[in-house]
């Protein structure tokens, strides 16, 4: 993976960087996600091997941090890899979704992973109840939850398998823990390569590699300019990254949108996920000529295995399009991305950078995920927020509970 910044703070940031590193080093001693790339995954792999070969579909019953990470990785890899099982996510209480999804699975060949850190997530447990009412075979379920939760107790009561989240790993930082690794491993994703990709970024950042400086500079720029550039877009030139951008939206929005620790002032940065070239025909105009309140990170794939070419035919009256003839769609995609970057470089006040992923594989997406987790931690530290909690969503939950009790 490569990352080039096209912006730069004028001021020397040496002191800022030093302070930031020392804070992150301290955080690393107790925030669990930092060290996930180095975890031992033997037990996950062993467990995976023990699952019945007749299982063709893995359903994740989970929402937010319990689904978005695995979904991002699965959907990135699916079109290119021959995965051995299908992975399906039930993440909504929308009856339409539930109906549609249940219609598409064969219950007898399906295993359900019920994932809820707290063990009490309304959406997840409602759907679980719905499914459990018609299939009470405990072998159809594996539960992933915090040690000591009521969901763990229930699972033990029905003699179902339970896996535990590691300590101090929040939901949206949990994709490289059992929460993401287990469903992915069941589908045949190379989770070793995934962690190796993450570890490359981790090692590079903590051991003076090339990502140390780029991450520090990017974080400092975003945090220092949070009022001016309150919107951070990712513009990914591959449909495979669509769910990655959704994962990013949760990670960035939920981690950074907070009251400040020392002032209780409301701060935050707004994430936006875009897919090229589709969104050139939607959002690009706003980036090019709209208010200068957005940074943009372009992500592109350097290699793409399956080549598809624009045929070498000329259409009468449309000869001007013959310049496209013989070009691969992937090269066209890359040229479209480069053209937009060049055009934007000519505009003032739009901070740009570019991330290149070598190819569609587990290593690349592991690196990209860890890169964004680190960036989020760095910016969170600079914004003076608690990056790892989400107190703002509690108020709605309490009101919902009251409504339910008053029915």
């Amino acid at each position: 993976m490569e990352n080039r910044l096209f912006f730069r703070d004028e001021k020397r940031l040496f002191e800022d960087k030093k302070r930031l590193i020392s804070k992150i080093d301290k955080e690393r001693t107790h925030i669990g996600y930092y060290n996930l790339p180095q975890q031992n995954i033997d037990s996950i792999l062993e467990l995976t091997d023990a699952y019945d070969e007749s299982i063709e579909t893995i359903v994740v019953l989970g929402i937010g941090g319990s689904s978005l990470g695995a979904k991002a990785i699965y959907e990135f890899l699916k079109p290119m890899a021959q995965l051995k099982r299908e992975l399906v996510f039930f993440e909504s209480t929308d009856p339409l979704n539930i109906m549609n999804q249940l219609n598409h699975i064969d219950m007898k060949k399906t295993h359900f992973l019920v994932i809820s850190k707290s063990g009490g997530t309304v959406e997840t447990l409602s759907i679980f109840k719905y499914i459990f009412a018609s299939n009470q075979n405990s072998e159809s379920y594996t539960f992933i939850t915090d040690r000591g939760s009521n969901l763990e107790k229930f699972a033990k009561d029905i003699d179902a398998k339970v896996l535990y989240l590691p300590d101090n790993v929040g939901g949206r930082f949990s994709v490289l823990s059992v929460v993401g690794l287990f469903p992915l491993a069941l589908c045949g994703v190379d989770i070793k390569a995934l962690l190796k990709g993450a570890d490359e970024i981790c090692d590079s950042f903590f051991n003076d590699g090339k990502f140390k400086n780029v991450l520090l500079e990017k974080a400092l720029f975003y945090a220092k300019n949070q009022r001016r550039y309150n919107i951070n877009c990712i513009f990914a030139y591959s449909e495979t990254l669509e769910y990655f951008t959704q994962w990013y939206v949760q990670l960035w929005g939920e981690s950074l949108g907070k009251k400040q620790r020392h002032s209780s002032f409301n701060v935050g940065l707004t994430p936006i996920g875009l897919i090229g070239p589709k969104d050139q025909h939607s959002f690009l105009q706003l980036i090019m000529e709209g208010t200068r309140d957005k940074s943009v990170t372009f992500i592109k794939l350097q290699e793409f295995e399956h080549k598809l070419y624009i045929p070498d035919i000329s259409l009468k009256h449309l000869e001007s399009l013959d310049i496209l003839n013989g070009i691969s769609f992937h090269d066209l995609l890359t040229m479209q991305c480069d053209s937009v970057i060049e055009a934007l470089k000519n505009e003032k006040d739009v901070p740009l950078d570019e991330i290149r992923l070598p190819r569609v594989d587990a290593n690349s997406i592991g690196a990209l995920i860890y890169y964004y987790e680190l960036l989020t931690s760095l910016v969170g530290e600079l914004l003076d927020v608690n990056t790892y909690n989400q107190p703002g969503v509690e108020a709605g939950k309490i009101i919902l509970k009251e409504k339910l009790e008053n029915l």
Copy 2:
């Protein structure tokens, strides 16, 4: 449809409103989309009836304004209506998409609608070339383009059917023209009801109905507070509205992100589409506690035909969730939405409003679409931009052309 605003400008806006109405009345004489609800659709319906019953799939080759509107309506209605044909959208040059989508259609039972206003859209024409290379039967294609475009000439040359966009209707305002109506009618969507829904909003706005004031107040608030609230979220509590939010993102972003007419200053408002309850577990924290730079419009469905209930079972150790028992998933969804609205009302400085759609039908979505088109026109006028062009995307196109020529 109903719309309640939970914010209000303190100042009397009588003069502002009067001025705005007179400008919109003037625009209505030459901007084509305003009068689409009253168009005669007999010819579209006749043409639709003439299509071969053996056609099972309609593929739209189009991007941005040529696809997002029809997609929004089709995806909204699909789960509830028994539509007679499948509608598929090829909107990207991403080779993965093209491969996947071609693998899923039966070419012999497919009709292609090639939609490009200018007739020269690179993405659309590239994919068209790819498909045309293997199927040169002109009866497989219908072209929708501007009168006089090169695509029209090509279509006539191969003896294919051509339909024309009405005058002065831009791509992103074209869903209620032949661009959206024709593919939808081919699939059996009740386009009369669609236009009737749009006409109800149109009539209400232009003839002193209930939507006149609400639209004016909302537009004035958004425009006057564009620096402070530069982000406008739609939070829709139904998966059926996911593609509607994508249509909204293009409409809002591409219409309002502009240099001002009289100052060439960069202005704009950033659209964000959210789906509940999923995004309660992603974006809500940022709305609740983040920077006060966002307005939020909640959209909910009042009725939902297909009921699915949470079963009346109690799970050991999870008895606290028994309050959910016997509730329909749709009612839970509505309560979740209401709970979030209530929680947000307790926060300061988050401008809220609520739109209620009576049900999943063509009338409702027609009304919602026209409501947002009008709102966009009103805000565009107040921001002093040309709402209907998109000059900012040209620079990238020129660079791409140079790159292609230099290959």
